[in-house]
């Protein structure tokens, strides 16, 4: 085929995709960077002067900013570990043959297909101290004698968020790890069985190392998702009580929209974007490495 023609067609085929992405994503992001250097306040005249890096300096001195980072680290470190362990267990179980296996997998998967906004609202109801399902179940089994204020207690609110995230995204972990298990080669297992290895040895010495690239991808994608967590927190607690569940997304919303400090909010938004780019760069390296291995 004609090489020149090839090039023209390629250009013709990929340009619509890049035009819309640049127009609706990258141009606004450049705009956002500009706003982050201004003192723009929404609906107020005579604001929008360039003030250099002042917004970013203010963030460094902002106590809530550190609370936001700490909350993100807490949610990440607990939720991802639990999701990984539960997801791995489920993937191993589902990898065995049993009747109704596909239906079982489908039912387990539904949480991740539901809108996070709906999940957040529903869990707000389930965590309700008086009429909520969770407290009433705990009452039923006599585990508590007075209601727990899950979303109002400053120490507990973040755990309510974590439980919700675990409920919604363990299925995602299971799905990826299950796909990884399905793709593993047969030979090492046959060799190990011949050598008389126990099933635990096979699992830790063969399955886990072979699964490593898939595990890394799953963990990175989940970290990325938690770094941009917004929906369920906005709905369940709005970042409260006293910023105990505040994360980057909710803080951006609070600053830029609720408090109308648009310039300052965009600075916070930009930091969350930079963190995203760092995660994506790492993920990209992992994706390339797995592609090369195959």
């Amino acid at each position: 085929m004609n090489k020149r023609l090839d090039k023209n067609i390629t250009l013709f085929f990929i340009s619509p995709a890049f035009i819309i992405v640049f127009l609706i994503v990258f141009f606004p992001l450049a705009l956002s960077l500009y706003f982050s250097f201004t003192d723009y306040v929404l609906l107020e005249k005579d604001t929008g002067k360039l003030i250099g890096l002042n917004n970013y300096f203010n963030l460094i001195n902002d106590q809530i900013f550190y609370r936001v980072l700490l909350n993100t680290v807490i949610i990440m470190s607990i939720a991802i570990n639990v999701e990984f362990l539960l997801g791995l267990g489920l993937a191993v179980l589902v990898n065995r043959n049993f009747k109704g296996q596909k239906l079982y997998r489908t039912i387990i998967l539904t949480p991740m297909m539901i809108s996070p906004a709906v999940v957040g609202l529903n869990f707000k109801f389930l965590f309700n101290d008086l009429f909520g399902l969770f407290n009433n179940l705990l009452f039923l089994f006599r585990l508590i004698d007075k209601p727990i204020a899950w979303l109002i207690d400053p120490a507990l609110a973040i755990f309510s968020i974590i439980i919700t995230d675990i409920w919604q995204y363990t299925p995602f972990m299971m799905l990826i790890l299950y796909a990884g298990l399905q793709a593993l080669p047969r030979e090492p297992y046959e060799a190990a069985l011949v050598d008389g290895a126990s099933s635990w040895q096979i699992f830790t010495k063969i399955t886990i190392p072979l699964l490593r690239p898939v595990i890394l991808i799953a963990l990175t994608i989940r970290s990325l998702d938690i770094a941009r967590l917004f929906d369920i927190i906005m709905i369940m607690t709005g970042g409260g009580p006293a910023h105990r569940t505040e994360v980057m997304g909710t803080y951006v919303f609070r600053l830029a929209i609720q408090d109308r400090m648009f310039g300052y909010g965009n600075a916070m938004a930009y930091i969350s974007i930079l963190i995203t780019i760092a995660f994506v760069a790492y993920l990209f390296k992992q994706l390339k490495a797995t592609k090369l291995e195959r």
Binding site: K7, A17, P28, I108, F125, W167, G249, I257, L287
Partner: protein, 281 residues
């Protein structure tokens, strides 16, 4: 004997997992068919005594005395925004995916990185500059504006999903069709595209659900009946003084329906889509 114990243990563990992942959803569905008087009382009533459709009537047609139901509009807006963006992103992304799969060009890696980045950018961060940009363009609080954002966010997704499906079709088929006298565009539309119809269906269901479920961008950009979507509008069952849990549960159930219907069919492809094509399901 040992085998039988294993099966019993396996069954118990599988059941515990099943309960954990289904009870919250089942509880919401039960709440949606409960008499509103049975919801806010202590001790709670585990199984509805009077099954009723009143919550669905409230959710869809509004309350007696209310001038109109807003939620029906929100569902309609969600459907429009999701459908328009699915059609656009599918067309734009499929041809891009074909180029990624078939043609060699410089900077392919960098372009791929950009595509992943688009999918990963926090929606709330993107919504801030869009608010100003759309105000300037006159697109604020319109379905067209919202559909354009969803198109831009879903195009990368379609690109790598479809490029994966095209990779599975041997290049020899392209070459054979060239010999038969097709040009590149004919080979693509007449020969290759029909071969990926299952991929097209799975991809479109998937991006439809992503737009249908989207919250942060719609939360900032849509303010009135003319464009507010259902995941944002469902908030209105929580007024400052009273929360209508029954109406909320009925609306939630309606919003979850597409997920219930489609998960079974597309689960094979979910993995591929969510891992940026790295892991084939």
């Amino acid at each position: 004997m040992k085998g039988r114990i294993n099966i019993v243990v396996l069954g118990i563990i599988l059941t515990i997992f099943l309960l954990f992942f289904t009870i919250p959803t089942i509880w919401i569905i039960l709440t949606s068919i409960r008499d509103p008087n049975e919801i806010n009382i202590i001790p709670i009533i585990w199984f509805p005594k009077n099954v009723t459709n009143i919550n669905y009537i409230h959710a869809i047609f509004g309350y007696t005395g209310a001038a109109e139901s807003r939620f029906l509009y929100y569902m309609f807006n969600s459907f429009l925004a999701a459908s328009i963006s699915t059609a656009l992103a599918l067309s734009i992304g499929t041809i891009a995916g074909y180029s990624f799969s078939r043609f060699r060009f410089n900077a392919k890696d960098k372009l791929f990185f950009i595509l992943i980045l688009v999918r990963a950018i926090p929606g709330i961060s993107l919504s801030l500059p869009l608010l100003i940009f759309y105000n300037y363009l006159g697109l604020s609080d319109t379905i067209v504006g919202l559909a354009l954002v969803y198109t831009a966010l879903n195009t990368p997704f379609v690109t790598w999903m479809m490029s994966g499906f095209f990779d599975e079709i041997p290049k020899e088929i392209d070459e054979a069709s060239y010999i038969d006298g097709c040009n590149t565009i004919n080979a693509f539309t007449k020969v290759i595209l029909p071969l990926t119809s299952h991929g097209l269906v799975a991809t479109s269901i998937f991006i439809f659900l992503l737009s249908w479920n989207e919250f942060p961008i719609a939360f900032v950009l849509t303010t009135t009946l003319s464009s507010r979507t259902a995941p944002v509008g469902i908030f209105e069952f929580m007024s400052q003084f009273y929360i209508d849990w029954g109406g909320m549960a009925a609306a939630s159930t309606l919003l979850m329906l597409p997920a219930f219907i489609f998960t079974y069919w597309v689960q094979k492809y979910i993995i591929r889509g969510l891992t940026f094509g790295a892991i084939k399901g």
